[in-house]
Symmetry: C2
Amino acid sequence: MKRIMINELKNNMNEKVMIKGWIHRIRKLKSITFIILRDRTGMVQCVLNNKEIDISLMKLESVISIIGIVNNSNNKLNNFEVLVEKLEIINDFIGEMPIEINKDELEVNLDTMLNNRVLSLRHEKINSIFKIQNIIVQGFREFLTKEGFTEIFTPKIVAEGAEGGTDMFEVKYFENKAYLAQSPQFYKQMMIGAGFERVFEVGHVYRAEQHNTNRHLNEYVSMDFEMGFIENEEEIMDMEENLLRFILNKIDNDGKMYLKKVNGNLPVIENNIPRIKFSKALEILEIEYNKKDLDGDLDPEAEKLICKYAKEKLGCDFIFLTHYPRKKRPMYTMPYNEEETRSFDLLFRGIEITTGGQRIHNYEMLIKNIEYKELNKENYENYTSVFKYGMPPHGGLAIGLERITSKLLGLDNVREASLIPRDRTRLLP
Amino acid sequence: MKRIMINELKNNMNEKVMIKGWIHRIRKLKSITFIILRDRTGMVQCVLNNKEIDISLMKLESVISIIGIVNNSNNKLNNFEVLVEKLEIINDFIGEMPIEINKDELEVNLDTMLNNRVLSLRHEKINSIFKIQNIIVQGFREFLTKEGFTEIFTPKIVAEGAEGGTDMFEVKYFENKAYLAQSPQFYKQMMIGAGFERVFEVGHVYRAEQHNTNRHLNEYVSMDFEMGFIENEEEIMDMEENLLRFILNKIDNDGKMYLKKVNGNLPVIENNIPRIKFSKALEILEIEYNKKDLDGDLDPEAEKLICKYAKEKLGCDFIFLTHYPRKKRPMYTMPYNEEETRSFDLLFRGIEITTGGQRIHNYEMLIKNIEYKELNKENYENYTSVFKYGMPPHGGLAIGLERITSKLLGLDNVREASLIPRDRTRLLP
């Protein structure tokens, strides 16, 4: 007999079916017992006759198989239920349940949730986060593929660092010392020059940052793209705007069910996302919120305030800050003038979710900028040599998958949007 | 003026267009010069009047922009050409060309090809490899998503090893010692138990193997899936068969152009892929090829011979070998009897491209098997504890992306199917 998924039972009214899954709830009455069975597609109420089926050995979260008849019913879950004829325990739950996962809310703290990840993920509110994350990633790839981008896979074990060499995890690579890549920056630029022109990568990146905040992960998924033959950084922002619209639309189409479960509230990008200069943002912060003393970048409080401003004054959950100062941006960033660059951040609901911009494509300019940043150009020869071979004007960006997921769904901590997070202290599970 | 891609010029006959790309070839005659311009979509012949445009500064592989009229023409590339009105050099090629990339064949050895990766990838035969690799990955995801699988991202920095702890790269993780994951095995099993039931991951895995052969990479892309509520390993093989058919079909539909460039020859899976027991394969090898002395696994020569047998005697480019010996398979492998397991390899054109099978889902059986393998069960507590919480019967497999790409396209070395390979000695570019 073929297993039927719970979300398809509505097409099998009055028929005999086999369903399989986990025991979500057990409620024993005098003569009958209700079992809520849960599979990956949903839950269904099953009714057992206590005289016919021994339920004494049944435990929550055991894996079972049920054969029964789909019957009309009015219950909280569906307008049908399954009258059980046969029940088989496939694999028992052993021991005590470390956390209670069968309530409407999973009332445990973050560490307990993450320590018991296999159980906490069974909770439909937790599970739904990753169903939506799936749609975000699919949307990212689908949109960019349609726009002529090629997906690339670039090494995560690297000999030198893209962002200057600090905060990198060291790897013993046979007799050599290597590092885990902080970003695919160098490689995606190389692939522009290699003739792909437009590339994207979805992959892990590594930051050996010492702080342990609710916004940082030491290993996270970066959604990167890079495109050649651009006029300036405005084209990168245009592309991101359309990409975000596409992703939000896809969540709305394919993820409504999951969004409802997590009480997610999708932003709408009605008009263009506002673009204001970084220097202008500093003025706004000072005038509107008396926030001062920022040096070349926003701090977490300033990010929250400028997002508040964007929401209240400009009517948008997103805001692009542009023309970040040269002194704070990496050496590959295209200068705009002596002080500013053609780079931007995208902030969303209080946090930076994207850094991007136009890159330098001219070899001499790149060498000069490496010197300007007081870096040793010999360390970057493998990278810079590529710029001698005919590199088109280009730019790109990176979106942190866990950050955008957590902000879309209103999660308090970015770890909640990582299946198995790695942070300052967490190497397990 | 908006840039037109070369593959769209046919829709712009007799119109003025702007095209951009790299100078692929220059042929100067007395009064006119032919330039072949290359962009990511193709190549086009452009004709310049030597009196009107100074070509003295033009170099191969410089990035240029051309404005001209699309005109009827008979040339090797297209039935049109572009009569150049204006030519602008966007970014010059500097210095000497380290390799010649503008011939039909890129006649350089592998090391030179990889040392000059940004240039060698511009060659259309090399570039096409990765266009097809793209289709393989897309096909993998598309098929499995359709089959109800959820994409997962699991940590590559791990505290313990899935395959027993040898051949792992060590990472300094703050004050702790960690490793780079050899496979997502433990995590994808956990995600089955976490209620996703069916999961896949496309991501890097790491093997610190000392040997430096044409079939090994130390960092490669593994396409993994794992599915729950199976009866046995046959279902995993069935799923892989349908997956491969889907991918091959997708290459045939979307990748013909690239396949032609690399002279690729797609296999056809007409009937089912033959499945023979590993023990039977040993008999065949001895009887047919006098190949003996294999202990629990095939060596590279035996893999080639059994593939030859599959092709010549069974009419298939693929062959499943099943029921591998218990002593050689990892502790999580479901036993079939005292000596054999419910595991398999898929071999294709002389090489193993997949290892898979059913896994143990029962806690006690898992503990016993860890003891049978003489491993320390305390080391695996984080993993084994999950099996107390109601784990459905499950199994899965992993396909090496670079291997399947190289074998589909008849490449001699797996490195040719990696954009930027990492091997025993190669950490750059």
